[in-house]
Structures are given as structure tokens and as C-alpha cells.
């Protein structure tokens, strides 16, 4: 009985110590620089850069409204995260705006559409309806590119990577800079994906 009590005592102490260690490690970390960042804040920064490497047809970005609109469908938590990173940032003279749209039909005026992985159900339909329309579509699901999307995020070993469907972008009259193509994990040209790098 004594021995078993002792063992229990030790194991509880170990557990408590481990918990304390977790807390201390956590506390000491707050002061330091971050080693991991929030996924959607980083993705927002990616979207910001994508806008710099994509050329929209001349009539889309007109002089009257020089802003760039990133739209996100019905996804309030994502909007908050994207907005906190890129709202009001400028690319040249163009101001970045994040807009939440409730319905796919409200796409009017959007330059970039971000479909998070929640949108799997409507994704195929939305992408089909955007065919030929100069909106840069960025998504996350595994079949995003085969559904006709243009840039797809994926996570490899905790780091964000992206694939590009150049064919889809070109058929919507968007020009993607070769620098972006070089950084992509794979680029689909004419229905065939090349593995990059």
C-alpha cells in the first residue's frame, strides 16, 4: 500500500511538473519572436503578393476606382484574419480592400476571390460561373485547380505552398508573372501539370 501510494505521488508530481513546464515554456515564449504564424494571416500576405504578380485586363482596373478588391464568400472569421493583415495596404497607387460577399452573384467588382476550404460544396458551381471573367480565383481544396480555379494553396510540412493553373488564368485574360510561376510547386499548362522546383 505504501509503495503504491509513493508511486502515485511521484507520478502526480511528474504530471504537475510537466504542466508547469508547459506554462513556463509558454510564458518565456511570449517575449520572443514568433516561430509560427496564423495560417490565414500568412495566406493574406500571399494574396497581397499575388496581386502584384498578376495583370488584369486594362478595362478592369480603371482609373475611377483604383482599389483592388479581395472578396471572400460568406466566411466572417476568415474575413477578419485577411482584413487584419492586408486591408488598406497599397500596391503602387492601388488600395487593397477586403470585402465579404454573401452570395456568389455579388461577385461584381471583385478582382480576387478567395474560396476557403469550407466552400467545397459550392466551389465547382462558383468556379464554373466565373469562367472567362477576369477574377483571380484562389482556393485551398485538392480539386480547386481541376474545378477551374487559378491558384491553390496547400500546406507542405507546415509551410504554405501554392499551385497555379495557368490555363484557367489565361482563359480569363489574366497574366501571371513568370516570377510567381517559378515559385509555384506546380504549374498546369494545357491540362498538364508540371511539377516545379
Amino acid at each position: 500500500m505504501e509503495a503504491s501510494f509513493g508511486r502515485r505521488h511521484i507520478s502526480v508530481s511528474i504530471f504537475a511538473l510537466l504542466c508547469i513546464a508547459v506554462l513556463v515554456a509558454g510564458a518565456s515564449q511570449t517575449a520572443r519572436a514568433q516561430s509560427a504564424a496564423d495560417e490565414y494571416q500568412v495566406k493574406a500576405a500571399f494574396l497581397f503578393h499575388f496581386a502584384q504578380f498578376v495583370d488584369w485586363p486594362g478595362d478592369v482596373l480603371n482609373a475611377r476606382d483604383p482599389s483592388l478588391k479581395l472578396c471572400i464568400l460568406d466566411d466572417e472569421p476568415r474575413r477578419q484574419e485577411l482584413q487584419s493583415t492586408i486591408e488598406g495596404k497599397t500596391i503602387g497607387s492601388r488600395l487593397f480592400h477586403v470585402r465579404l460577399i454573401g452570395q456568389p452573384q455579388d461577385i461584381q467588382g471583385c478582382n480576387i476571390l478567395f474560396l476557403s476550404r469550407d466552400e467545397t460544396r459550392r466551389q465547382t458551381a462558383i468556379l464554373k460561373s466565373l469562367h472567362g471573367i477576369p477574377v483571380l480565383t484562389v482556393g485551398e481544396t485538392s480539386n480547386f485547380l481541376s474545378d477551374g480555379g487559378m491558384i491553390r494553396f496547400h500546406i507542405e510540412e507546415d509551410k504554405i505552398r501554392f499551385d497555379i493553373n495557368l490555363e484557367a488564368a489565361e482563359s480569363s485574360h489574366l497574366k501571371i508573372s513568370s516570377r510567381l510561376l517559378l515559385l509555384a510547386t506546380s504549374v498546369t499548362r494545357g491540362g498538364v501539370a508540371d511539377r516545379g522546383r
Binding site: V42, A45, R195
Partner: protein
């Protein structure tokens, strides 16, 4: 080989089989300690996160080297589901350091995962746990791995390389209207990555004080005709555990398996997925079995389950229009399994069609048809035989589910029903209704009423197990046997569930569920009249028992789970589950042991606290503590299990992990039937390291 341990409580009547020592009540005192630590971790932590730097100032190359974490993954799809669902993401899998699927499932709040010996687990949700938890449906990429012979899952032969898993969806509560019968208390859906996401090669090697492996190799590429593909092979071995009775359990477990998956786009409208696996392995156990009708009649012997099999699945998806898509899935699965006391082969062919259609502005409909044929062949032994020896059963099914928007973005109603016809009990109707109310973006309430059936298996209807032989009066041996019941009925559940989820901030989310379940026609074990039997010779007294549907009951409980991102590098996830079971015999039932055996075989309280910290230099530290209250029927004391792992990403291509399991206490049992024939193993303190290299 253990036959229906969930029900073997009946055999506790036989004193010579109850060699399990009686429980020690001392451990109950751990509950407050555990709770205290949970509170400490929750409230004693530093608050506030470091200021986020302006990420847009970084170059794309810099952004690509940032490690990201996502608490919100689980809040997404799942936040809209009117069901108690938990998703284990690939990130969770990578950070857990777990080597097999059952160990991964421990993180699911409300799931009871208890290891019996090296290769055997009892896994269930909301009660009725046992080696074959016959109320839980498990699927791998749409292929059912619930065996229609034993009614349950052989976890020792169902393994998927963990780095190929995209996610595991665990639904607690009934899912029969969509997933089919036997999805009574839950569904586990293991979904592997598309071959597009496993391009390139990877090599994995591991070793520990009690295990070798997994040694794994995987390669993925793209082919003009085939599309994206991957091939893999994996092998591992676990050393034997000591048993509760202090013997060497001889339960060492090994498995070698390999397979492939291809994902190709046939046209703008069509995509095709094909995958296949082949496996072979064996696992031992110490079991008490009748060996002859002459003394010594019953002995504890080492048995070795040998199993092998292969399966091939193909799924064709076609998008007719943005509002209509179909999927056709066909698979074949062959499995062979046996030790010296049984031998069974099973072929399953399954074809499943689904059509998803958006109808008008408010209705989203999925309907489908399915057909499954299973043929088995068994070889009778002194211990286990089936009548008929071989059998082919067919299952026809159809279902429809309609999700109706009552008020856009606020109120959704989902109605579903499944009609099935099975070989044992004929037609079967399993409806379900679910309502989701989203008053605003941060709060979501749901409620559901559903019906689910567990249909009889081969064991329920046609097995004979000569459970024990013993010396009787006047040199007449006694054989204790139990028999399947060809007239067994479905066990039927009517479930009432309600849940609340919220995401107060992007850093904190909460998921809670309450349920009240009513079961009827639960399987009981009914004694029969003693008789004289001459075959097998010599003549002996037969004490028969057989299955009946003599029980009914109610269970209720609550499950709670939170995810708190304390800082950008640190996530803490507490969870708690409460379960109370009340079973009763119908008038006329003579079963007196199943009720206490089942009620006392499931923990009433389970708690967990998981922490994941991202440290500098690409190191991640995960720690998980699990508290499981005692199982009175099996005299298993309560325990707290602590698992921890350190994962270091050493450069772009190499990752190294070190994991410790059961750190608090060496050699403790997690599960045992009150007097099941398999000797339960004692879980040992384990440490292992794994290195993975991708190229």
C-alpha cells in the same frame, strides 16, 4: 480470438474463468488532481499574444518559409454540421507523434479508446465499448472496415500510413441515415490524401524500446495517362506486453502492408480515383480455450491470429452541371483471418452511387443507392463453428438527405432517411432530422433526432462457441457453449442530441453536446436447458446459452471540447466527457450479467488536456494528458495517461520526432472484459524515435 467480449460478462458466472484480480479503489482520488491541473493550465497561463509583424512587408520567399498553425481548421466545415463531429487534421497527426490510428483517436473528446493488448483496442463512443464495438462504423476512403462476421473492427489489420491521411472525421452519435446501419453510436471516417498532395518521395524509419518501425517508403509522381499517383509500403512490429495475470502476453504484433492511389482528371467533367492495399500480419494473445473433452479440458494457450487481405476501390465523379454531380464507387475487399481455433475468409463486393443536386435556391439534396454482397467461408474447430459453414449475404440500400434553408444564414433543416434490406432482418427504415440555428456568426445551436439500427452479424446469428470444457459428475465432461440466434432482431437506437458551438474570438472556440439515447432489443445472453450431447465424442453434458434481444435501456451524457490559442505559438485543448448508462432486462429475459457488465465496462468520466507549443528552430512540443475513470465491471482502476512528443523539422526535407507514451505509470491495464478469455495486456511506458526524409 475473443468472441464478443462486450457480452462475455455472462461467463463471469463461471468462477474458474474469473482470474482477474479485484480492483483497487485508491485511484478515484485522482479526479480532483487532474481537474486542478486542467484549471491551472487554463487560467494560470500568460495571456496576450506578441504583436504580429506586418506580413505584407515580407517577400514571397520569406512567406514560404514561415511555419503556420491553424486552430480554426476544426471550426470550419465542422462548425456548420448539425452533428457531434471532431476532425483530426494532418497537422494534428504530424504533431501527435502517434504511430497508429487507435492512438490518434485518443484525442477525440467523447471517444473511449482503450487498448486491450498489443494489437487489440476497444474503441467506442457513448458506451457499449468492447473489443468489437459493434455500434461504431469505420470507413477508409469510403470502404467499410466493419466486419459483418464479428460485428466490429479489427484494428490490427486496418492501418493506413499516417502521413498519407488527409483527415479523420469522427462523428459521435448516430449516422445511419447517411452512412448506413451499424453507424449507431458513431462513425469514423478515415480520408487519405489525394495523390496530388503526396508527390515526391519519402522514407520513414523508427524504433523504440518496445517497437520496431514503422519503416515506410512512399513515392508519388504524375503520369500523362495515369494522372497523379503514389505507391507505398510500410512495416512495423510491437513487442509483447505482460498480462494482468503477470504472464508474458505473447501478443507481439506485426504488420506489413503496401498500396497505391491514383487521382486523375478524365475530362473537364470527370475525375477518377483508384486505390488498393495489400496487407499481411499476425498478432498473438493468451486465451483460455477448451482443448479437449478429456482432462485437462480447458487451458490458457498462446494463440496467434494470422491475417492477410487486399482491396481495390475505384470512384468516378462526374459533374453534369454546377448544380448536379454524381459519384459511382465500386470496391472489392478480401480478407483472411484465423488462429488455431477459427479460420475465416470473407469477400466483399460493394457498389455505391450518389447524386448531389442543388434544387432551387433553398434545397440541397443528396440521394444514393448501394448494393453489397459478402460471402464468407469458415472452417469449424472444436472451439468455434458457424452454421451454415459458408454464407453469402446481400445488403440493398437507398438513402436521401435534403438540407433545406428555412431562413438564409440563420436556420437550416436537414431531413434524411435510409431504407435498407439485409439478409437477416429484412427491411429497415432509419430516419433522421437535424436543425441548425445560427443566430450570428459566432454562435451556433443544433438539435437532432435520429434512428439507427445495428443489424445482426454472422456471430449473432450462426456461431457456436464451445466456450469452456470442465470435468463433470461421473466422468461426464461438461461443455459450456453459446449459440447464435438465427431469429435475432435489430438493436434499435432512437437518439436525441443537442449541441452548441461558438467561436468567440479567432483564438477560442467551444464545442459542446448533450445526448439522450434510447435503445431497444439490445442483445442479451439467455441460458438454455442442459442436455446430453454425443458429438463431438465423448458424450458430454452441454450447458447452452444463446443470444436474445432481452434488454433495453437509456444512456445520457455530455461532451465538451475547447480549443484555445493562448498565443500564436501555443494551443491548449481541454476536453471532457460524461456518460451514464441504464440498461434493463425485458420481462422474460434471464440475463443477469450483461447489464452490470456493459454498464460497468465504460468510463463515466473522461478528461483530457492537450497542449501544442511551437518552439524556435522549427521544434514543436506536444503533450497530452488523458484521464479515464475506472471500469468497475472489469476491475480496471482509473488512470491518467501522459503522452508527449518533440518534433524537430531539421531543414526542408528531414523531420525527427521523439515520443514518450504512458509516462506517468508503467504497466497499467486500460481494458478488460469482466472475465473475457483474452488476457489483457498491461500498457508500458514507451519511448520511440522516428525520422522521416522527403525528397
Amino acid at each position: 480470438m475473443q468472441v464478443h467480449p462486450a457480452r462475455c460478462s455472462f461467463f463471469s458466472k463461471l468462477p474458474y474463468l474469473s482470474d482477474v484480480p479485484s480492483g483497487s479503489p485508491q485511484v478515484i482520488r485522482r479526479v480532483p488532481i487532474f481537474a486542478g491541473i486542467v484549471l491551472l493550465a487554463l487560467f494560470g497561463s500568460p495571456s496576450g499574444a506578441a504583436q504580429t509583424p506586418d506580413l505584407t512587408q515580407k517577400s514571397l520567399e520569406d512567406l514560404m518559409s514561415i511555419e503556420v498553425t491553424s486552430v480554426s481548421k476544426k471550426e470550419q466545415k465542422t462548425s456548420q454540421a448539425a452533428t457531434a463531429v471532431f476532425v483530426i487534421s494532418q497537422e494534428d497527426i504530424r504533431h501527435s507523434g502517434a504511430l497508429n490510428i487507435p492512438d490518434l483517436l485518443r484525442m477525440v473528446p467523447g471517444l473511449d479508446v482503450a487498448q486491450i493488448d498489443d494489437g487489440k483496442w476497444a474503441i467506442s463512443a457513448r458506451g457499449f465499448n468492447g473489443q468489437y464495438s459493434y455500434n461504431l462504423l469505420v470507413l477508409i476512403d469510403g470502404r467499410t472496415v466493419y466486419t459483418p462476421i464479428f460485428a466490429g473492427v479489427f484494428w490490427d489489420s486496418q492501418n493506413v500510413p499516417l502521413d498519407s491521411i488527409e483527415r479523420i472525421e469522427v462523428i459521435r452519435g448516430p449516422g445511419a441515415a447517411v452512412w448506413g446501419s451499424n453507424a449507431v453510436n458513431g462513425v469514423i471516417n478515415i480520408i487519405t490524401k489525394s495523390a496530388d498532395n503526396t508527390q515526391g518521395g519519402s522514407l520513414t524509419a523508427g524504433a523504440g524500446n518496445a517497437s520496431t518501425g514503422p519503416e515506410a517508403i512512399r513515392y508519388g509522381g504524375k503520369d500523362r495517362n495515369l494522372g497523379a499517383y503514389r505507391v507505398y509500403a510500410e512495416g512495423f512490429q510491437y513487442n509483447a506486453l505482460p498480462t494482468l495475470a503477470g504472464l508474458d502476453g505473447q501478443d507481439d504484433w506485426r504488420l506489413v502492408h503496401g498500396g497505391f492511389r491514383t487521382d486523375s482528371t478524365l475530362s473537364a467533367k470527370d475525375s477518377l480515383t483508384t486505390e488498393g492495399d495489400v496487407y499481411q500480419g499476425n498478432a498473438g494473445e493468451l486465451s483460455s480455450v477448451p482443448i479437449s473433452l478429456a482432462p485437462p479440458e480447458t487451458a490458457t494457450v498462446a494463440l496467434r491470429d494470422r491475417y492477410s487481405g487486399w482491396n481495390l476501390l475505384t470512384r468516378w465523379k462526374r459533374t453534369f452541371s454546377p448544380r448536379s454531380e454524381t459519384s459511382l464507387q465500386v470496391y472489392f475487399d478480401r480478407s483472411l483471418r484465423g488462429d488455431s481455433t477459427y479460420d475465416i475468409g470473407l469477400n466483399t463486393f460493394d457498389i455505391d452511387f450518389q447524386h448531389h443536386i442543388v434544387w432551387g435556391a433553398r434545397q440541397d439534396i443528396v440521394w444514393g443507392l448501394g448494393y453489397r454482397v459478402s460471402s464468407d467461408a469458415t472452417i469449424p474447430t472444436l472451439r468455434i463453428s458457424f452454421t451454415p459453414q459458408n454464407r453469402r449475404t446481400q445488403l440493398f440500400s437507398s438513402f436521401v438527405q435534403d438540407e433545406i434553408v428555412i431562413r438564409p444564414d440563420r436556420l437550416n433543416l436537414s431531413l434524411g432517411a435510409r431504407v435498407e434490406h439485409n439478409a437477416y432482418t429484412g427491411f429497415d427504415f432509419q430516419p433522421s432530422g437535424r436543425l441548425v440555428w445560427t443566430p450570428n456568426n459566432k454562435n451556433m445551436f443544433w438539435g437532432a433526432v435520429s434512428v439507427a439500427d445495428r443489424i445482426p452479424s454472422r456471430i449473432d446469428t450462426s456461431i457456436r462457441v464451445n466456450y469452456a470444457a470442465l470435468p463433470g459428475p461421473g466422468n461426464l465432461p461438461i461443455l459450456v457453449s453459446f449459440f447464435g440466434n438465427p431469429n435475432e432482431k435489430n438493436e434499435r437506437l432512437t437518439a436525441f442530441e443537442a449541441g452548441y458551438r461558438n467561436a468567440w474570438t479567432s483564438r477560442f472556440s467551444l464545442d459542446s453536446t448533450v445526448f439522450y439515447n434510447r435503445y431497444r432489443d439490445l442483445v442479451s445472453v439467455e441460458p438454455g436447458a442442459m442436455s446430453l450431447e454425443t458429438n463431438p465424442a465423448p458424450a458430454h453434458l452441454l450447458i447452452p446459452t444463446s443470444f436474445g434481444n432481452g434488454l433495453y435501456g437509456e444512456t445520457q451524457g455530455l461532451e465538451f471540447f475547447a480549443n484555445w490559442k493562448v498565443a500564436s505559438f501555443w494551443t491548449v485543448s481541454p476536453g471532457y466527457a460524461f456518460l451514464s448508462m441504464h440498461l434493463h432486462p425485458f420481462a422474460g429475459s434471464q440475463d443477469t450479467t450483461t447489464v452490470p457488465g456493459t454498464q460497468g465496462g465504460n468510463p463515466d468520466h473522461q478528461g483530457q488536456l492537450r497542449s501544442s507549443v511551437s518552439l524556435p528552430r522549427n521544434i514543436r512540443w506536444n503533450a497530452s494528458a488523458y484521464f479515464v475513470n475506472r471500469l468497475p465491471a472489469a476491475s480496471i482502476p482509473s488512470y491518467t495517461r501522459l503522452d508527449t512528443s518533440l518534433i524537430w523539422r531539421a531543414g526542408e526535407h528531414v523531420s525527427v520526432s521523439v515520443t514518450g507514451q504512458n509516462l506517468l505509470r508503467n504497466l497499467h491495464p486500460e481494458f478488460s472484459g469482466p472475465s473475457c478469455t483474452v488476457q489483457s495486456g498491461l500498457m508500458r511506458r514507451d519511448a520511440y524515435a522516428k525520422i522521416a526524409w522527403s525528397f
